[in-house]
Symmetry: D5
Subunit: 165 residues, 10 copies
């Protein structure tokens, strides 16, 4: 079979191994990366993660969100099964919505050193109000830093209709 | 549990206390704030509030709206349960739609001194017409003032379909 | 102008009078009726009421719902502006969702003595769960009693998608 | 050209004549019929009429609705351009929503003597409430009378979502 | 390759031959059938045909519709490419909407002698009104005749929302 | 009650008076304004008007549209009930779609002298085609003139899906 | 305040107490009930629960679902906050989708002894396939047993569109 | 962990083993079953399978469909990963749409001997027409045979809107 | 009647005349224009044309599309009934999708000499793929030429979801 | 027939020939081009391809996606049937999502040497996460290179809602 070869994927230890344990505490070290085969080009990769859940740090009640992660890779790319397990590790973790998206982005910057990245969380309501934090990042001193500022400046000018149903 | 600790939240008196009284008159002083843990980064927080209701100042009839609040925090952030109680305090308050969104934004600026903030109200129809006021603000003398002007200039170029059903 | 004449509407005191006061407590006596001009035929009238709000009897927090009322008139029909004011009178009233829909239906039976009536409330979520009570009624000892049983038996076999957003 | 021939359509005086005057008062006599070419079979014809408007008999304000008409023809069928002009004639006519649908159905029964017919009006809201009357009819003493009762019994068990936007 | 073999398909002359001419006049004889491999079971086959167009017999203007055909086969089944060409043959044909659906159903009964069949046309509006005729058929003297009557009796109790946009 | 006081609304003669006559001819002088309480800030007000109807100047047939009006107020703001009555006055008025939106905008400029305004009409189809005219205006010699040019330049790059149903 | 009084709610220990602990293992005993105030009438109560999550018993991976619960109460009704906590207790519980819905229904029958109840789970996909189990129950030896059979017989004849996005 | 235990699942060889080979030809023998833990109750299980693809037996071109499978289990239930692999085995298999759904249902009857089962395939269009076959089955000589006839009789009376986009 | 007068429309020969022949071959000369009454202002007019059909030049099979035309008029405007007849004239015309939109735009430039114009065709699929060509034009040597380049540069960055159903 | 002539299409060998073999391995050489008849103008062509399927290079499981391709042609244009066959050739090919979109774009650049091109893949979820890679290209040293950078900078600021159902 043509395409990605197994030898290119030696750092990928989780994909294709179903016996892997799901982490019960916040575990950023479970994230794995593989090499970008198209470093000659800037392009976007987006992950849609509608199965995110964490706990409220004050009341302990569960929170639910869809997390959207988009980035422009440089040398490394995040492997999707490790991302899944990483997001799972928030399952019994307590933090504010605004903190979760910042933490996720910080961990992915640490892993991949991407040119650009953004994270948007869209949470279900508590007390009739829902919260959607959004953060982004461009590598300092490069044009991607200006890109981050440009995208923040133009962020979400058409809020989606939310009626709590 | 990792994440936000209780000692970081000493100013938060409403969240986690269900016995709190709902205010029966317009009560901006009920708003509470907590500290931004990510002041090193500009990022957006959006609140979706589909359960807003006030009264018409002329006829006394109830008005209903979804209020969208988006802001870039500086030092302080608004706590969501206090925001819920604050919005509840418009329940028996009479004001025009255009005034409500301006007042809400003024009160949140007073509370948080944010870098940037915007408020959009989408009201249900009266007499076959519905009104959707939108206002925004960037801290004067900073790049956020230009941001506010840029976002107003490009505001709502795709009005959502409305058919009163 | 042909159509309904003013003399047919002598019991209708609220429609066309905008100075009417909005009742601040639960006020079933505000409901008004007018005569059915088509008593020779069974037919349905449905009211869609997406602006219903009441209070939780335990916590005092506001609840929001869309209320659907459908009925087959006999001699009397409910006038829509009085229905609006009646539903408004729940604004500061505390009751469980399940009780509200039963009370509304009981009051409309009292007013109109309809052949058949049903009331469905679809509330916004609290704690991640939303509640949708439905009750109906057919005049006892008539075929409409069997109609009520038939419609309950077949009620809501396709629950609408709810995702709290 | 095969299909309907012009000589079959001698009673159709409005279709294909664009100079026809639009009637300024309620004008049931403008309705025209043509012959059913498939009288050997029971089948349904539905008209979707989203451009209906009339006036409130008390306040004079305009009302708007989508009217759905469905029928099983016997000998005669209603011609669609005459139906359009007939519905136009309610434009300056004042009547309650509940009366309009009954009148429309009565006039179409008078014109066509159909085996079965039903009319459903879905109006836009006034005062936050919208009204959707529905009536039907089966020719007395035939199985279509039972059909009408059956369809009324099972009418609208899934009210469409209405949020006034 | 397992599955349908070429020798089973000897009457199918159009599928797989792209040079076939599109008929320029109404051509029911172009319809082709193949054998039902599952005659031991009653089952439904539905065709969704959103690309139907014909002409108005009075004005010559084009009409557009989505045609839905559903049937329970007995011995023969209609081949889909021949159905496509047959429906194409209405392209320059003038007939009323109500006649088109009856003609289509008659031709398919003639071709397949199905146990049961129904045809529903949903046309785009002319003069602000759209027309949706529906007819059905069950083989006379069998239980499918009662099936047709049952389905007509319960036809389209939830007309889809139409707003001409 | 806090909020807008009656003495601020002395020019508002229509709101709260239900006995007002609906004008039967084009009546721009019925428009009323009130004072902007937030002149220290640029902000948008949008009216959604899905109940607009006029007549074709050539054929006399009725036209239907949703009209969207958005503006940035300076000193004066248009009162919504007077806007409703003004739009009603097109009911028996004949004009092309393209002319209606220009006339509405001209009249509102005359009334309010706004900093910026735009009007978009989305009409229902005639002959299978629907027409959506859009015009805008920025006060000449101000930055709002450039704003109008910018918004026209970027207008409607994602036409909404229209299928006439 | 009229409506439900506190003395009617003595068995309700969780609602209004935010300090309640979230159970970390499957905990059916946390369910609480209160008295039905309308036992003279059969009516439906539906809970929409889009925030359900459990674990796969074989692989340990998280599963997500919306759970719909509908029932006709007899003497007792389930209190919604206790239902929320009960469903939370599946968070670290491993079971097949088909087992979860049966267990939930069994526990609610045990708590309330309802006349009728049904539970429908709609899970997110694994391996490109999603599973939606549905079970129901009518009290044996009553008409509600026949009701359960009737509703199963007619269950889900219009599967919702699923495309995994 | 409570719930399903590993020893109950001894016949399940594919779930939890990611190294399993995907079959390259039609392979009904890959289907696996496990025991129903709730045989005391009739209930439904539905599989949504939007990733089905096969080949046209005449032209070799790929076909795509969403397959819906619903059944009432008796003793055995189909394991979902084996179902996934089984459906994958049509990937290079050529058959007509109408044959595919019948074959899938026959193989599942062979595996599970269910009380009731139905299969609905909704294919993407070829030549502007799409085909949606539906078959069902109730165990002969039981009430489930009548159930199958009842559900076929009432099948798909509201065809979903299809516009090929 | 105020508004457009008949004497302003002397070049409009098709609107209001229903006896006009539909052209059977590509007929650009049928297009008619009328005068722009608002030449003092740049504004947009959009036509939504969901009833376009042509033929494939290679296979002769019919193609279907929605065509969107938007332009800024200078002196002349295209009359909509003539546009309808012009688009009809592609009914038996064979051309590639990419050519059709370019030809339509060229003919409208020839007719109106507009300041700016764009044409977007969205076709139904053939072989599982659909094609959506888009072209635009600004009058050379004016700011509208830059406008065309700007709009092409930013064209369609959010392709609508297409699933062929 | 006017329009594209056969002699213009001599390089097109696949369209109109249904006997063409579907390639069983990755086959970029199957792509065919034809001449652009409108080289005097920059315009966009978009292909919507919802029937893309490939294999995971690690596990062999099938992947499904909708692929969107948009480009501005120079001299050559890709013929759609050859594009269909080319995309089919990924059917048994194993590669990561991120690699597939880059490979497709590289092959189309090789074929057509377009001024500008972009490819967006939207895949169905695996393990609860879906991946949507996007890449683009502008001819180096031309304004289209800046265009590519501009479009990447503004890419996908409104991620579509994804809930895995
Ligand atoms: Ca919603
Ligand atoms: Ca209203
Ligand atoms: Ca709406
Ligand atoms: Ca809540
Ligand atoms: Ca929702
Ligand atoms: Ca709505
Ligand atoms: Ca029309
Ligand atoms: Ca529509
Ligand atoms: Ca539409
Ligand atoms: Ca999956
Ligand atoms: Ca979906
Ligand atoms: Ca569609
Ligand atoms: Ca196709
Ligand atoms: Ca095709
Ligand atoms: Ca679609
Ligand atoms: Ca979805």
């Amino acid at each position: 079979m043509s395409g990605r070869q197994q030898q290119e994927m030696q750092n990928v230890t989780l994909l294709g191994h179903q016996g892997v344990k799901y982490p019960m505490t916040y575990t950023p070290e479970i994230l794995e990366s593989f090499d970008n085969k198209h470093p000659y080009r800037d392009y976007f990769v987006k992950f849609n993660c509608p199965e995110f859940t964490s706990l409220c740090p004050i009341t302990g009640q569960p929170d639910f969100a869809t997390i959207y992660v988009s980035y422009i890779p440089d040398i490394k790319m995040v492997e999707s099964k490790s991302l899944k397990l990483y997001l799972f590790s928030f399952r019994n973790h307590g933090d504010f919505h605004e903190d979760c998206v910042n933490i996720i982005m910080n961990d992915l910057i640490q892993l991949m050193d991407p040119k650009y990245i953004e994270v948007w969380g869209k949470f279900t309501p508590r007390g009739g109000i829902s919260i959607d934090p959004y953060c982004n990042y461009g590598r300092p001193g490069t044009k991607y830093e200006a890109m981050a500022e440009h995208r923040l400046l133009n962020h979400d000018m058409y809020p989606e209709k939310v009626d709590n149903r």
